[in-house]
């Protein structure tokens, strides 16, 4: 391979740019031509030339803009510094440099048009979110292939195959260390002890679509319906009916939740070999995942008091964000026993201690903040008794008291449960009102740390902190400044670590 290729700045393919430009112009024209002709015919007076002039000016401006955008879009390889360099922008200027060893993936993208005229779009991917990728439209085939070959050969070996943790069957020679299977009985237990709100939501969604359909069907009979509604039994009887309805609704929620769990996690099988975790599950769509400890960013252990009693824990593993949808970089393993969660942890983290060094709880300010936000819907809902005659203020008040009490209770529980713990190697955030979540991340895998201080925190000596991983942030609000020591400790751990973090 020519080691001095792409030393001089390169531009996109001229034909490619021209064709793409013409195509987009044609698309715009196709949308507006009818309107244009309509106006020209309709108002054939002295001003009708405006309707020709304006589009013409727009087209000319677009051509000028495209020309400069083409002229200024330049890329080359700086061999000395081992980086790929791109400059672009018409009015503004962007100068982007990507070191070879940070390149994750180089891909081609081709639409139909691009296929026809034989050009490529080259996408250079670095770790991180979608916006961080670099796209070169309209590049000639030979150039694209050569450039991609160079970049691919230069990118770090170990980054290969990072995008997907998938599809790899357990190798024959890999030694199985332990296996975890979910039987139907346990699946049922998981379903019954899960949060029914989801199932409830599904029912509500179903009923509302049903209602929409029916109301459309019986639109003419609306008056009749309203009349019937007037005949609804008196409060005492209606309370009975509502109670029955509520029980039915609850049972249905339970049923749907259980069914969903069954479909999703049917035949779940978890196998740990010396290097990877292999997971297989699902009734309808069979999910297969295999993952390496290196890629793991955050491990969440989720349970609730009922599940705790049944010895059921769910482990959610967040991987370094890839180009794929975030759902794919989150892996959920339900129905584990406490011992199994420990096994997963020790597989992922090796020998480790979780001896607590610093424990932080939020200041009462955080509770007040939550309550303030909780009060907003209440204040807005005061519009209802004012505007709707049928609802009087005392009825609203009953609702308001009920809402306020449950809101206060919820937020107080949440506030009390919030905890951030630093140990030698780990950072653990735990919280939850009913579902209890414990998020663990290895400190050395952090990307950066942010400390936010609203000015009204200054006097109280409080800060908000965010610890950023490649699989999402761990944030903690209204915590005492003492935590800054542990921010410095985290930085120390990041900066002295030479281990691969993904």
């Amino acid at each position: 391979m020519d080691s001095k290729a792409f030393t001089s700045p390169q531009r996109q393919s001229v034909t490619g740019i021209l064709v793409i430009f013409a195509a987009s112009l044609y698309k715009i024209f196709r949308i507006f031509w009818a309107v244009l002709i309509y106006f020209i015919i309709q108002q054939s007076n002295a001003f009708s030339f405006i309707y020709v002039l304006i589009p013409l000016i727009v087209v000319i401006l677009a051509v000028v803009h495209s020309y400069f955008s083409y002229r200024n879009f330049k890329f080359h390889i700086n061999w000395e510094k081992e980086e790929f360099v791109l400059t672009k922008g018409v009015f503004s200027t962007d100068f982007i440099a990507i070191p070879f060893d940070k390149i994750q993936q180089v891909n081609f993208e081709r639409g139909i048009l691009e296929r026809v005229i034989g050009i490529y779009s080259l996408v250079i991917d670095t770790a991180g979110s979608d916006q961080k990728e670099i796209k070169i439209h309209a590049i000639e085939r030979e150039k694209a292939e050569e450039l991609s070959a160079i970049l691919l050969s230069k990118k770090k070996e170990q980054h290969e195959n990072l995008d997907v943790a998938y599809a790899e069957e357990p190798k024959e020679d890999e030694e199985t260390q332990w296996t975890h299977k979910l039987e139907i009985g346990r699946l049922l237990k998981i379903g019954i002890s899960s949060n029914f709100l989801r199932g409830f939501g599904l029912i509500i969604a179903f009923l509302s679509t049903l209602y929409n359909e029916f109301s459309r069907l019986f639109f003419e009979d609306e008056e009749l319906l309203l009349k019937e509604a007037g005949n609804i039994p008196l409060p005492l009887e209606s309370f009975f009916i509502f109670a029955i309805l509520a029980v039915i609704l609850l049972l249905l929620s339970v049923f749907i939740t259980v069914a969903e769990v069954l479909v999703k996690y049917y035949n779940l099988k978890l196998v740990q070999t010396s290097e990877r975790l292999h997971l297989e599950m699902g009734l309808r769509t069979n999910t297969k995942v295999s993952l390496q400890p290196r890629r793991v960013q955050i491990v969440s252990i989720i349970t609730n008091p009922l599940q705790k009693w049944l010895n059921i824990y769910e482990v959610k593993i967040t991987l370094a964000g890839s180009r794929e949808k975030s759902a794919k970089s989150k892996i959920s393993i339900p129905g584990l026993e406490k011992g199994a969660t420990r096994r997963i942890k020790s597989f992922l983290y090796g020998k480790h201690t979780e001896e607590e060094k610093g424990v932080f709880k939020p200041n009462i300010v955080d509770f007040l903040r939550r309550v303030n936000f909780g009060l907003i819907p209440l204040i807005i809902s005061y519009i209802i008794p004012i505007t709707i005659e049928e609802v009087n203020v005392s009825e609203w008040l009953i609702f308001a008291v009920f809402y306020t009490i449950s809101m206060l209770f919820y937020n107080f529980r949440m506030f009390k449960s919030m905890k951030l713990t630093f140990s030698e190697d780990f950072l653990v955030k735990s919280y939850g009102v009913w579902s209890l979540v414990e998020q663990t991340t290895e400190i050395y895998k952090l990307q950066s740390v942010s400390i936010k201080r609203p000015f009204w925190y200054k006097r109280r000596g409080l800060v908000n902190v965010s610890l950023h991983t490649a699989g999402g942030d761990i944030s903690f609000r209204a915590v005492d400044e003492e935590i800054l020591t542990y921010m410095n400790y985290s930085l120390f751990r990041i900066e002295t670590s030479e281990k691969a973090w993904m």
Binding site: K81, E82, E83, G89, F91, S92, T93, D94, F95, I96, A97, I98, P99, D101, K102, T126, A127, G128, S129, Q131, K132, K156, A320, G321, R342, R343, S346, K351, H352, T353, E354, E355, K357, G358, E424, Q447, S448, S450, I451, K452, R453, P454, F455, H468, T469, A470, G472, D473, L484, T485, Y486, M487, N488, Y489, L491, F492, I494, E495, S497, E498
Partner: protein, 181 residues
């Protein structure tokens, strides 16, 4: 299971956390005053546009009362914006340490982000039209974390931005070198 392990099998056991370097004590470099001008121009243009709109409504329609309230509210809001950008200018700051870069911004909510060199993915420099007129540039530093994890340092002299970028690239590749060997 973990508790079976003897405690002293770790190498990093004896770090006195309190003696670690503190990012809060680093003196930060300020940024070019031209950024303040840029922000003021942005706000002024928007302010004039909104005031013209209010004036138009006031003189050509009957909505006098409502539009006066809107105008006063907009005026107060913009007063705050001017005050805010003036205050913000003093907060902006950055500093390079041996192993990381510190960046601070924001007046109402002061946000400090620290990125270790060995977590930087790539660096870019961007300049808008006003940036070019005022002779400033923005240095963007990207990590593999979410957007909250990245930083953009505005109001740097172009040559300085370029130098910083070069310095960072060297730091990044040093770390790359270290982790290969």
């Amino acid at each position: 299971m973990a508790s079976v392990e003897p405690k002293n099998s770790f190498q990093n056991q004896r770090i006195a956390i309190d003696t670690l370097p503190r990012y809060q004590e680093v003196d930060l470099n300020g940024i070019s005053r031209n950024l303040l001008f840029k922000n003021l121009i942005h706000i002024s243009v928007l302010f004039v546009a909104i005031m013209l709109f209010c004036g138009y409504i006031y003189f050509y329609t009957a909505e006098n009362f409502i539009i006066s309230i809107v105008a006063v509210a907009a005026f107060l809001l913009f007063c705050f914006f001017f005050f805010n950008s003036w205050k913000m200018q003093k907060i902006y700051g950055y500093a390079l340490r041996e192993r990381d870069i510190i960046y601070r911004k924001g007046f109402l909510i002061t946000d400090t982000t620290v990125i270790s060199f060995n977590r930087i993915q790539h660096v870019s420099i961007s300049r808008g039209v006003l940036d070019k007129l005022l002779g400033i540039a923005t240095l963007n530093i990207f990590t593999a974390g979410g957007s909250g994890s990245d930083i953009s340092i505005p109001g740097l002299e172009p040559q300085l931005a370029q130098n910083l970028k070069e310095a960072l690239v060297i730091k990044i590749s040093e770390d790359g070198f270290k982790s290969i060997h």
